[in-house]
Amino acid sequence: MTSDLPAYRDWAERPVAEPVDYSVVIPAYNEAIRILPTVGAIAVHMSSLGKSWELIVADDGSTDDTIELLEGLELVNLHVLRAKANGGKGSAVRRGVLAARGGVILFADADQSTPIEQFGDLLAQIEAGNDVAIGSRAAEGATVANKSIVRKVLSTGLNLMVRFGFGVPFADTQCGFKMFTSNAADLLFRRQLIDEFSFDLEILYLAKKFDLKVAEVPVEWIDAPGSTVDPTKVAIEFVRDMAQIKWFDIRGRYSNVNHSPADDEHVIGSADSPPKAQP
C-alpha cells in the first residue's frame, strides 16, 4: 500500500504556491483536547490528494491552549486566525472562509464528526457544477452514529420547520461539513449577519435567494463526545434566528456586502504565504 506520509511531510514543510486548489477551514473554540488529532487526520488525507491546499483554523477567542498548541506544530501551510473575543461559530467560520485562498473551500467541525475522507464526495458535486455542496445527516444514504435522542428529536423538528416554514429545501442545514466554490463563498459569507449556531441556515437561505446551485450529500457522521453545543439553547436560538433572517431580508440587509477579509484581526503561526489580498 502506498504511504501518504511523503506528501504530508512535503505539505508540512513547503509553503504552497498560489493558486491554491483547496482550503479547509476549522472553527475552534477551546478545542485544546480535540484539535491535534483532527489536524493530523485532515493533513494526511488532504495531502494525499495531490493538490495544493491550506488549512485554516479560525479560533473563536479560546481561553485554553488551542492557539499555543497549533503554533507549536510549525506546519507552514497551517494558518491560525485569532479573534479578539468569542464571537460565535458563525463569525469564526466567516473569518476563516474569507481568508481562504482556495478555489474550493470546505469548512469542517473540529471534532472530525464528519470524517475528512468524505471531502471527495462533496468535491464531486462541486466539480459537477454546483456552487455549494453540503454534508447531510438526513439525506438518503447518510449514516449517523452515537447521536443522542434529544439531539435527534430536536434536529428532526428543526429540519421540518426549516423545510416547510422557512422554505429552505434541505433535510439537514446544520451539518458542520460544507463546501463552496470561492465565488460562492465570497458572495455568501460577505453578506452573512448571523454569528452564532444558525449561521448555516442563513448561508443556505442566501444561497437560495441568489439562485446558487446547492447539492446535499449524504455523509457518515459520528457524534463526538465533548460537544460544546447545548441542544435546547440552540433550538431556541435557531427559531429566533429564522425570524431574524427573514427580517434582515425584508429590510434589504442582504443586498449589501457586510464583511470583508479585513474584518479579521490578524494571522499568526508559521504562515509564510499571506492570506488572500484584501479588496
Binding site: 504530508y8 494525499s48 475522507e117 463526545p225
Partner: protein
C-alpha cells in the same frame, strides 16, 4: 471499532480496525484488562486499520502502556496507519511509545 485478539510470539496482539475514539475506549480497556489480568504484561496493538484516533483513545493507550510497564512489561504499537502516525507525532506521543514497524 473492531477488536481482534490473536497471539504474536509469546504475547497477545490486539488488532484494531475503524475509528478509535471516546466511544470505543471502554471496549478497548475491557479487552486489555482481560489480557493483563493473567500472567501477561506485554501486549502489542496493531493500528494499521485505524484511520482516526482521538484524544480519549490516546489517553487510553497511555494508560495501557503504564499498566504494562508497572507489571514490568511493555505496550508495543505496531504498523501505524499514516493518520495515526502523524497524530502521534503532532501530540508528541510518538516518543513515549515503543513503535514497531513490522
Amino acid at each position: 471499532m473492531d477488536i481482534m485478539i490473536t497471539t504474536e510470539g509469546d504475547h497477545p496482539l490486539v488488532t484494531l480496525a475503524g475509528r478509535f475514539d471516546a466511544f470505543e475506549t471502554e471496549a478497548f480497556r475491557a479487552a486489555l484488562d482481560d489480557l493483563l489480568d493473567g500472567d501477561t504484561s506485554t501486549v502489542s496493538v496493531d493500528l494499521h486499520d485505524v484511520q482516526f484516533i482521538d484524544s480519549s483513545a490516546l489517553a487510553e493507550l497511555v494508560r495501557a502502556m503504564k499498566h504494562c510497564r508497572e507489571a514490568e512489561g511493555e505496550l508495543f504499537l505496531h504498523r501505524l496507519s499514516d493518520p495515526v502516525r502523524v497524530i502521534l507525532e503532532l501530540t508528541r506521543l510518538d516518543a513515549a511509545f515503543e513503535i514497531r514497524e513490522a
